[in-house]
């Protein structure tokens, strides 16, 4: 039974029936009727259209633009270039903190990657702006480009991800490998990938003096507000961001990006509202990507298949002008028990845009390599891959020795394997065929993702009529924040979800932190939970201090908030409605505040991760090497589930990203020009409906008393991990061919078969 017992104020418990319910999306009707307004759907009076011209070279400088031709086009109002752009109050190349990334907003004529903005055309119509951007016909001075994992001098980055060490050692890996009975070493490569949300970045910017109103998709409005304020020399409160719906984010809308700043600059320049929407090809440069990797994994086991050593080395890339290093070896710290674990990194700088967080940054990339290697090791030990994983099950976090705050991975393995029918899998590869002669293979992988939390605030109100309001500037990029957070809000107020006005999606609300790291529900949810507790405590104080209230003197026993009433804990027949408490006190409403952050004590005592197990079936055409995923079963344990309908959708989405990672997604870069050769949705392949078989996601029960007061872990990213490796392992099981370069495309399979 869903029930909430707040930890901070044990005198006032609240019982709710909203958390745990599979409510349909609160924003569903708006979205299916086309009434949900995304950034680019806004059209303020007097608005102009801005279109970026982007660089077709990857390194050098722009020597000429035919501004005259562009300006001569009917309807063109202005062409913004480095020569005439409005001044900025802060350096866009400044880096005050690791969450700030350098951006290209026409500060100079230099070009440091392909598709970098080099000018912006502002016109009365979209057609005019688009045509005039083409008329700029840029000329360049080009320098040789560095593209590819071997194209520049490698170095050891000072940190990977955000502040993670680039070298970690636990135990003695050389000794562990030397003592091993079985040893494998394998190198895996993953390509550059692009987020490609269906909604390209877009902004509608309108200035009113020094006040700025913008509609733009954002996974982190407060951070965006801060960056915009610094760049334009205005106070953050002068900026109003509206981002009620994001058309997908996946990390590329976490931080405000250069093109969005250009839209604001354009609006300032022309003194009218401006809409700037990226064309799809513009998404392959200035808004981040997942960096390519080459990962070498060495494993050793004793005679019984127990791991003696894990060595995970990652080579990755960043841009020439900023630092983001895909933290791909992180999964090796937490997943399998081994007396020795070493992870290390090297990197090269390339003439690309700066890589960024992309759904499961590091985890997805590292997981496909580690899960492949584990499968190879199981084979080397002649063990079933599931038995091998269970043999090396980590009872404590291997790299730190900390206990897990909760870990129901054994249940995930058991329930997933049972549902899939794993027990009947033949050990050797190339043993199964279907009636059409297709090779059939079964593979599995372990899923893992850290349970993170950022900081957030929320404000709660109980109104005169007894209904509630909950406010936090949360972001819904499809994960279901409008729904899941409203459910938490309702339970925190002891009300039904229909009695609570949940407000989110704008920057004038309390900061809900960033929607990333699979941490938004935990973070914003905990702040909401705290705000609800605070307002209920105030309401209880009003009642308990009033001799006329049936709750008078209940202080020692405490009260319970339920169904819009406070009742005595020691005698639930005595209580009164919120509205009555307020009316008698002559108070129009009561307000409470809540905030959340990771509990440092719990963090230092426990390792906190969600886990899962994914089982995949593939069919491979023995002649043509075409791979189809025919069945996927994932079982995941991620603490308390707020809304199983939304959570299942998150798992499905992650599993589908796993299909894309294993079999389809790759940016193909031209090593001569440095340009992505497939910057569009026809040639950069992502799964379509026909690529996705019957999926099954099992929500494995898990109680976590330590992660946060609500016991929530994240679900948004975990399902890519495990899935991609499971598919790769199933391809091996079908064919006997181990493809170590991803994605596993038919040409690679055929080449290795020959």
């Amino acid at each position: 039974m869903p029930e909430l017992t707040p930890t901070q104020t044990p005198a006032h418990t609240r019982h709710g029936s909203n958390i745990g319910q599979p409510l349909t999306r609160q924003d569903g009707l708006l979205k299916v009727t086309g009434r949900a307004r995304y950034a680019a759907d806004n059209h303020p009076a007097g608005m102009l259209h801005a279109v970026m011209a982007v660089s077709s070279i990857a390194r050098g400088r722009v020597t000429a633009l035919n501004i005259q031709a562009a300006k001569a086009h009917r309807g063109v109002v202005e062409v913004m270039t480095p020569a005439n752009k409005p001044p900025l109050a802060d350096d866009p190349d400044a880096k005050a903190n690791p969450f700030m990334f350098r951006m290209d907003v026409l500060q100079t004529d230099r070009v440091r990657y392909a598709n970098q903005p080099i000018a912006v055309v502002i016109a009365e119509t979209l057609e005019a702006a688009t045509e005039a951007a083409a008329l700029l016909s840029p000329r360049y001075e080009t320098d040789p480009v560095r593209i590819g994992l071997d194209a520049n001098e490698p170095f050891v980055p000072p940190a990977v991800g955000i502040g993670n060490p680039s070298e970690e050692r636990h135990g003695d890996v050389p000794a562990g490998l030397a003592a091993a009975t079985n040893r494998i070493e394998a190198t895996y490569e993953t390509p550059a990938q692009y987020h490609n949300p269906m909604e390209p970045h877009a902004i509608v910017a309108a200035w009113d003096g020094d006040k700025l109103t913008i509609d733009t998709p954002s996974q982190g409005m407060a951070m965006a507000q801060g960056r915009i304020a610094a760049l334009f020399g205005i106070a953050p409160e002068q900026i109003h961001i509206r981002s009620p719906f994001l058309g997908g984010g996946f990390g590329c809308k976490g931080l405000i990006a250069g093109p969005q700043i250009l839209g604001i600059m354009a609006a300032r320049m022309v003194g009218r509202p401006v809409k700037l929407v990226l064309r799809r090809e513009h998404m392959y440069g200035p808004v981040g990507h997942r960096a390519p990797t080459r990962q070498t994994i060495r494993l050793g086991t004793d005679a019984k298949g127990g791991l003696t050593a894990i060595d995970h080395h990652v080579k990755t890339t960043s841009s020439t002008f900023d630092d983001f290093f895909e933290p791909a070896a992180g999964v090796s710290h937490t997943l399998y028990a081994s007396p020795s674990i070493a992870t290390s990194y090297e990197a090269v700088r390339l003439d690309t845009g700066t890589p960024l967080f992309m759904r499961a940054p590091g985890e997805a990339t590292g997981s496909i390599a580690l899960e492949s290697a584990i499968d190879e090791m199981a084979q080397a030990c002649d063990m079933d891959p599931l038995a091998f994983r269970l043999k090396n099950y980590a009872e404590v976090e291997p790299s730190t020795g900390k206990p897990f705050s909760s870990k129901a991975l054994r249940d995930c393995y058991a329930q997933g394997a049972e549902r899939f029918g794993w027990a009947t899998r033949p050990r050797a590869p190339r043993q199964m065929r279907d009636e059409a002669g297709m090779l059939v293979g079964w593979g599995m992988g372990t899923a893992t993702f850290p349970a993170l939390m950022f900081q957030a605030q929320a404000r709660a109100v109980i109104r005169q009529d007894g209904s509630g309001v909950m406010e936090t500037g949360a972001h819904d990029m499809g994960q279901g924040a409008w729904t899941a957070l409203a459910q938490i809000a309702a339970d925190s107020l002891g009300l039904d979800v229909t009695q609570v006005a949940f407000r989110a999606g704008t920057s004038d609300l309390p900061d809900a932190g960033i929607a990333g790291g699979s941490a938004h529900t935990a973070t914003a949810g905990s702040a909401i939970h705290g705000a609800g507790a605070d307002v209920i405590a105030k309401l209880a104080a009003l009642a308990m201090g009033d001799q006329r209230s049936p709750l008078f003197g209940a202080g020692n026993a405490g009260v319970i908030a339920r169904d819009g009433r406070l009742v005595r804990r020691d005698d639930e027949s005595r209580g009164e409605r919120y509205a009555d408490i307020l009316a008698r006190a002559g108070v129009a409403e009561v307000e409470g505040r809540g905030s959340s952050a990771m509990d440092p004590a719990a963090q230092s005592a426990y390792a906190m991760h969600a886990h899962g197990a994914v089982f995949a079936e593939v069919k491979v055409d023995p002649d043509f090497g075409q791979v189809r995923v025919t069945r996927l079963v994932g079982a995941f344990a991620a603490g308390r589930i707020i809304n199983p309908r939304m959570v299942r959708s998150q798992y499905y989405g992650g599993m589908i990203w796993g299909i894309g990672f294993a079999l389809q997604e790759q940016a193909i870069m031209d090593p001569r020009s440095g340009r992505p050769m497939n910057p569009n949705l026809a040639e950069y392949h992502v799964p379509v409906n026909a690529d996705v078989p019957a999926l099954e996601a099992i929500l494995v029960a898990e109680h976590d008393p330590h992660v946060n007061p609500l016991g929530i872990k994240g679900v948004g990213e975990i399902a890519i991990t495990g899935t991609a490796g499971a598919i790769a392992n199933a391809v091996w099981h079908a064919t006997g061919i181990r493809v170590r370069q991803f994605p596993i495309t038919l040409d690679r399979l055929i080449e290795l078969a020959a």
Binding site: T24, Y38, F245, G248, R280, R645, Y652, N689
Partner: protein
């Protein structure tokens, strides 16, 4: 240069003085008629977010020049519901959680309505998946989309049978 065309969108006739022959049907809907439910994901017919029904057929409106469709009957996502009553496909999308971010959803729904009218997919999930594969969903709501299409088709079939004499 002004080019006048007439489009009937969701049963409402619009006389449009096009100032530019390059305007796509999608940009006319979005930027001139404020019918922004139809989305632009790629502007080159690769993602399906801009799917509308043109004279009953599903098309990518980003690939259609408005000027070539003078006199056409167009159905967009805004014209699908019956007042406050969602279309069976819309209701099924909500029930099966066939959407996450919602950006591809109008295109998916228009494509689903088109697919059901084409009556080619039947009750075979494989054929529904194939028939819906012109509409990309990056969030990965495909399982729900397939279920929703099959479910809505059943609802519409039953309604048809009731109406039949």
């Amino acid at each position: 240069m002004s080019l006048s065309i007439t489009l009937t969108v969701n049963d409402v006739e619009h006389r449009i003085a096009l100032e530019d022959p390059r305007a796509t049907l999608l940009d006319v809907l979005r930027e001139r008629l404020d019918l922004t439910g139809t989305k632009k994901g790629c502007d080159r017919g690769q993602c399906g977010a801009c799917t509308v029904l043109l004279d009953g057929r599903r098309i990518n409106s980003c690939l259609a020049l408005a000027i070539s469709h003078d006199g056409a009957q167009i159905l967009t996502i805004e014209g699908v519901a019956n007042g406050d009553q969602p279309h069976p496909v819309q209701a099924a999308f909500i029930a099966h959680d066939a959407l996450q971010c919602g950006f591809c959803t109008p295109g998916q729904i228009m494509s689903a309505i088109g697919l059901i009218q084409e009556a080619q997919a039947g009750t075979d999930p494989e054929r529904v998946r194939e028939g819906m594969s012109g509409n990309l969903c990056r969030c990965g709501a495909y399982a729900g989309i397939t279920e929703a299409v099959l479910d809505a088709q059943k609802t519409l079939d039953q309604a048809d049978r009731k109406q039949a004499p």
